[in-house]
């Protein structure tokens, strides 16, 4: 790889809205998927000859299937409320990264072909034909949206740019213009069962190795079972948890929690992936097909509960969509929500005093928590709205003594995306990822300066991978990021209750 040809943005003294730098990110385009990758998913291998008509027809089809798209393309009044809310805009200053401008790339085509005003007076209402130039802009800028929904919090009509981006990606895939990173991963999960393409025997090997590590560290035999029929819980977790750092530390944490609580559990080689990149490309069928693997595994193994590990978009799909895509879950134990987040399980066990925790074990850490976008704005934990914010924080405070939140405008429902979500976690988008992380890095810098924070906990595999890579660009240590269950793992005292 060539050395980076971009500069890491400077921390702003006062975080004011940046001035516009038109075309600043016009050259940021991820690699296009090659024909075999596309065809494996049932998409055309390359841009089809009559792509313009096909794209318009696809847009028409989606308008009939998704009320969100239909309403959101009509409702925008260009008020500007969203213009300074996107982390990619703040970090890159490219005006096409303002949510409304990004939407308008698609809206202008909608107006031209599906509205009276756009057909009669295109210039007046900003309606445009889908030219090759505009299609290039689609590919460039819809691949600069992480579908994090921050703009939807602030829109007076709740317009969610993620819905527009997903529709645009679905249209582009349908005419043979796919993104390599995301579509390659979709192929792997269908073929092998997880995004990393880790086959069953390799997975088994990895888990055995982890069992040995835990035994060496703690002297306790903690199991990480694979395909154990009759287990109570099926754990579905992002495959990064199996071998990436710091992800694996959280996997060890889940194992210790189940072990101490005496809950029998298993992983599945068939559904060894919680992530669901079908959502990133807005494809209902892909998303459904991947979700059904979990249902098949749960039925095959005869489990009573399904628990999902630390992964943001996976939790969105699991919490919000699984019942629709792969339900009903009437064969599971109805006393537990289906599915359950690992944080809900751990929080519940802590409340009941089922875990022995030594908070002092985390005293070397001064911790903050990064709310992951999909958990924050597209899901819930527990029984009350906002549980997705309180439950992870209560876990952290139960296992550690030093916790400080970041600026209130950068957490909770207003949290900033890590900069790597939505299928953008690829090296060919490094400049975008570094610049998109700016608002989070600024908020982190503040608590580092004020409270000497040295650990940013999060519950998302993409956040962990993204921050590990991006933190050094801003002068931080890459090991500052880790999982909530990494902290639990440090604090939990195995053997104490046995």
């Amino acid at each position: 790889m060539a050395a980076p040809t971009f500069e890491t943005p400077k921390f702003r003294d006062i975080p004011i809205v940046p001035v516009l730098m038109p075309q600043a990110m016009a050259a940021s385009r991820p690699f296009v998927a090659a024909a075999p990758i596309q065809q494996a998913l049932g998409f055309p291998g390359e841009l089809v000859p009559d792509w313009e008509q096909k794209a318009i027809a696809k847009l028409g089809e989606l308008l009939g299937k998704y009320r969100s798209l239909r309403v959101y393309l009509d409702a925008c009044v260009h008020c500007g409320a969203c213009t300074d809310k996107c982390h990619y805009f703040i970090g890159t200053q490219d005006p096409k990264n303002m949510p409304v401008a990004r939407q308008d790339l698609l809206r202008s085509v909608y107006r031209r072909h599906f509205t009276v005003a756009g057909k009669l007076f295109p210039k007046l209402v900003g309606a445009r034909d889908l030219t090759k130039e505009l299609l290039d802009d689609w590919y460039t800028y819809f691949n600069q949206c992480s579908e994090c929904r921050r703009c939807s919090v602030f829109c007076p009509y709740g317009i969610d740019t993620a819905e527009i981006t997903m529709a645009a990606k679905e249209i582009m895939n349908s005419i043979g213009l796919g993104q390599k990173y995301t579509n390659e991963i979709l192929g792997k999960v269908h073929r092998i069962g997880n995004n990393l393409g880790l086959p069953g025997p390799a997975l088994e090997d990895t888990l055995l190795g982890l069992e040995e590590d835990i035994a060496a560290d703690t002297g306790v035999e903690v199991k990480l079972p694979l395909d154990a029929k009759g287990a109570e819980v099926l754990l579905v977790t992002p495959s990064a948890d199996f071998f990436s750092e710091p992800h694996v530390e959280s996997l060890i944490g889940y194992a210790k929690v189940f072990h101490q609580a005496g809950i029998s559990w298993t992983l599945s080689s068939h559904a060894s992936e919680a992530g669901n990149f079908g959502m990133f490309v807005g494809n209902y069928e892909q998303m459904k097909k991947i979700s059904l693997r979990v249902r098949q595994a749960a039925l095959e193994l005869g489990v009573k509960r399904i628990v999902v590990g630390e992964c943001g978009h996976a939790w969105r799909v699991a919490y919000s969509f699984w019942n629709t895509l792969a339900g009903p879950w009437d064969f599971l134990d109805s006393r537990y929500p289906a599915p359950q987040h690992i944080c809900e399980v751990t929080h519940d066990l802590i409340q009941r005093g089922a875990l022995t925790l030594d908070k002092e074990a985390n005293d070397h850490r001064i911790i903050t928590f990064h709310d992951s976008c999909n958990v924050a704005r597209a899901s819930r934990m527990g029984g009350t709205p906002g549980g997705q914010f309180t439950i992870p924080r209560e876990i952290i405070k139960s296992v550690a003594n030093h916790f400080h939140d970041m600026h209130p405008d950068t957490i909770g429902e207003k949290t900033f995306c890590c900069g790597g979500g939505g299928g953008l976690l690829t090296d060919d988008l490094m400049e975008l990822r570094v610049k998109g992380a700016l608002p989070r890095m600024e908020a982190l810098k503040q608590v580092v300066d004020e409270h000497k924070v040295n650990f940013m906990a999060t519950i998302c595999a993409i956040c962990k991978a993204q921050f590990s890579k991006v933190l050094p660009y801003y002068g931080f240590d890459m090991s500052m990021v880790g999982g909530v269950h990494q902290l639990v793992s440090t604090a939990i005292r195995l053997g104490a209750k046995e």
Binding site: L63, Y66, Y72
Partner: protein, 243 residues
Amino acid sequence: MSALTLIYAGLFYAAAALLIGGLGYKIAQYARTPAPLKIPTTPAPTTAAGAALRVAREVALFESLFKANKWIWLFASLFHAALLMVLLRHLRYFLEPVPAWVAWIQPFGMYAGFGMVAGLGGLWARRFLVERIRYISTISDHLMLALLVAIAVSGLAMKYVSHTDIVAVKAFMLGLMVFDLQPLPADPNLLLHLALVAALMAVFPLSKLLHAPGIFFSPTRNQADTPREVRHLAPWAAELEKH
């Protein structure tokens, strides 16, 4: 009957037909289009009543806009609240006898006309002064503001510059509603005001004014957060289950 009266009667019948027909078509279209997935922006209410209240707060208080930008919120609230008062005040030209509460709000309705202009002025100024909003503004965004300002100013002019024969206007309007045409006064100010209002009615269902019905159909706002409790399945998605 003068040609003028006939033209304006025709204009209003056409504008009303476009408004009602167009809006009815769009609302039916929104209602017919399924929302296949649960996508409320969370934290979200966990009951249908809670979600309805959330939409009500958006409509009445512009809750999300308040989070986003206090200036836009201020000008937008001022304009919309003033517009509401002005519309209610105008009921006196369509109802006989005039209900007591309509008579009571008359003075507030008059001042609200200035509020409308002030709110619109603030919103319009932002389109020139704020770089980001200047970048996203289209010709139609400016024209829409121009239309609304012209309606407000021509209306205020009838009160504060040169009075029109309001009794005759009311007779014309009451007549229109029962297809019994009455002569319309040939006051240029009035004619301008009415023509602009007819134009606004006509473009309503063809323009961004669709944000008014749109907000009620916005899935991120009107859905209850209950995906684990209730299985949500759109008709076209249910079809996929069969294969």
